[in-house]
Symmetry: C2
Subunit: 192 residues, 2 copies
DNA sequence: TGTACATCAGTGAACGCGCGTTCACTGATGTAC
DNA sequence: TGTACATCAGTGAACGCGCGTTCACTGATGTAC
């Protein structure tokens, strides 16, 4: 059958296609997991068919690598106070919008099945996120910052997994309150 | 073609098959994720073919529901002191053996794509795990216990995802140290 | 306790499906003169 | 600037593959007498 629409695009249009594909993949992968999203589905969100994908990427794995980096770049932690960061990260809004949210709770468990390249991109993102936590809460030592990030990621992951609105909300609220208290009380060492 | 081996098994043998399938699934699902493990693969670990699966279960989903419950039943938190629990949960050994470990970091992100029945079994397991944390650390209030569980789950998930041994070990160690310190210092309220 | 028959646990082939990837083809875009 | 040609972004059909599930069949197990 003959193609239904004109085919070759200008260079800028092609570059735009590539960029948009990475962005769409970054969103879809976070929403549903890397393996659960097909190449065809990513291209369909751009109004394209799966075949054209391979003009831009060697494989789905290459897309996953770029989408992973893009996800970290596009969803950096807020630069506000620790309180504001916690309120935003551990909010129902963030829980309910994984596609535009932090890649850590969304993709962490996918990493076990990914190639070295994808895992490397993810690891780089984890380090960047830890650096962001340092900017937001410079008073906490490195160990406390890692425990804080672990809490945020775990709380969001559990809040998303659980089939009970109250338990889900409690995981977010209690984790947020605990850290707000902890970071206020002991910026570097106990105060009173 | 004619079957190569005798077919019908005794009732006990059949019951054993069912039980073993659930156990194998519970391990495999935690190791690689529910969707990444096929029904045929589960049955192959029992030396059986995929066809026989449906004498015991309505669907893969039914197996996932039972395997999820089984995973929580078989991997309960240790009953020791908070210190011992943290040491065990946040150990490289636990990180490297997801198949026999806590289902929370292993399966949490799979839940988004699972049916209500599976999610319910998972949620029940989360509540049971929180109850275990209460037994281990009765001095901490409910909110702190939820923050603690979130930390443990997040730290293990990140430690497994990351492609860097040092960062992986640091996530475990620092989260463990933070909570050992925190639970020792303030069993119910600040001490000194 | 023995015998005749029904049951059903498990086999292995087959099903329809969606996946990642390849490929011949099209025709607008880009380039060489 | 205009023309002739090469390039290549995207189409849509096709590929081999593995999946979950179904099904006709087998023969040891379980049951009725």
């Amino acid at each position: 059958m003959r193609p239904e629409r004109p085919v070759r695009r200008s260079r800028e249009a092609a570059a735009r296609t590539r960029r948009t594909a990475v962005q769409a993949a970054s969103r879809l992968f976070r929403e549903r997991g890397i393996e659960a999203v097909s190449v065809g589905e990513v291209m369909a969100t751009l109004g394209m068919t799966a075949g054209g994908f391979y003009r831009h990427f060697d494989s789905k794995e290459a897309l996953a690598t770029e989408a992973c980096a893009e996800a970290f770049a596009g969803s950096a932690l807020s630069q506000d106070s620790p309180d504001a960061m916690l309120r935003r990260y551990l909010s129902p809004a963030h829980r309910d919008a994984p596609g535009s949210g932090c890649p850590l709770p969304a993709l962490a468990s996918d990493m076990r099945r990914q190639s070295t390249a994808v895992r490397r991109a993810f690891t780089k993102g984890v380090r960047a996120t830890l650096a962001r936590v340092e900017q937001v809460a410079p008073a906490a030592d490195a160990g406390t910052r890692r425990a804080l990030l672990a809490s945020m990621v775990g709380a969001l992951a559990i809040a998303r997994a659980v089939d009970d609105d109250e338990l889900s909300a409690a995981m977010l609220r209690d984790t947020r309150d605990f850290w707000t208290r902890t970071l206020a009380k002991a910026p570097r060492e106990p105060r009173s």
